[in-house]
């Protein structure tokens, strides 16, 4: 059910590609760093035997 984009298909698809691509990249990066830091924090707190946070 792909819509008929006519002669502008390139432009439209490209901008959706780039736009969504950037959004996904940003979200991905945020999640990845989030996970990394969380792991780090857990290690450190474990080492210091202190909880909370």
């Amino acid at each position: 059910m792909m819509p008929e984009l006519g002669k502008y298909a390139g432009a439209v698809l490209a901008s959706y590609g780039v736009g969504l691509g950037l959004v996904v990249a940003l979200v991905g990066a945020s999640l990845w760093r989030g996970a990394k830091v969380r792991r780090l924090l857990r290690e450190v707190e474990y080492r210091q035997g202190r909880t909370n946070g």
């Binding site: 819509p3 432009a11 969380r38």
Partner: protein, 242 residues
């Protein structure tokens, strides 16, 4: 209880932790509906052909790019006045999002400009001032990266953000004064004359809502990360001293 309660990291972590899933889910839904509707179900514009579909990414991104900076300005002020670490970290967390939004607006805009104006880029006031906004984001992020004592960095970037805002506004006027552009005016304005046709209107609104929610979700997520990172730093430092 005052709003400042949330400036305490622990409280913030609790609340945001509870809030985050809902916001993200809502954002995802809005984006899918809005973009899906816009991309698949809206007709072509009689002048612009299928390129109007770009508006569903372009406009919300552009708006968020501006709003993100405003949010950073507010957060910086809160930090400088009331010294709540969370707000400083929130500003830090928002910057990359704003930059990405600016990029999206620029790229989609450029891709739109190619068919519409016959060129990728023209030095239209709005485009130009957007480029400059992008530069401000870059500088702001670079400064965060270059200073390593977190509080120092927060103070410096805060000052930069305030001064920068003033000059950003100045540049906007300067640019207007300097060239008159091809870019359409505010077409979400109330007067029906130069408004985007209704068929495009509703999905556009949904997309905008989606982007706003996405922004909120990301800010929450990244701020949580920053807080954790900050705490790691503190614990490691103590470890060193012990």
């Amino acid at each position: 209880m005052s709003i400042w309660e949330y400036a305490n990291p622990k409280k913030f972590m609790q609340t945001s932790g509870w809030l985050l899933p809902w916001v993200s889910a809502l954002a995802a839904v809005c984006l899918m509906v809005g973009l899906g509707w816009g991309f698949f179900l809206t007709p072509d514009d009689y002048r612009q052909g299928s390129t109007v579909k770009i508006i569903y990414l372009h406009v919300p991104a552009a708006m968020m790019a501006i709003n993100a900076w405003v949010m950073m300005l507010v957060a910086s002020l809160i930090w400088l006045v009331r010294r709540h670490h969370v707000s400083a970290l929130a500003a830090k967390a928002a910057a990359p999002i704003g930059l990405t939004m600016t990029l999206i607006a620029l790229v989609t805009g450029a891709l739109w400009g190619q068919p519409m104006w016959g060129t990728w880029w023209v030095w239209d006031p709005r485009l130009t001032s957007f480029l400059i906004l992008g530069l401000f984001y870059l500088g702001y992020i670079a400064l965060w990266g270059a200073v390593e004592d977190p509080d120092t960095a927060a103070d410096l970037t805060g000052v930069l953000c305030i001064v920068g805002s003033v000059f950003a506004v100045l540049s906007r006027y300067a640019v207007n004064f300097w060239s008159q552009g091809l870019h359409q005016g505010a077409s979400l304005s109330l007067d029906k004359e130069e408004n985007v046709a209704d068929v495009f209107y509703l999905p556009l609104l949904i997309c905008i809502a989606g982007f706003v929610l996405l922004f909120v979700a990301l800010v929450l997520l990244r701020t949580r990360t920053e807080i954790r990172a900050r705490r790691v730093q503190a614990l490691l430092a103590r470890e060193r001293m012990a």
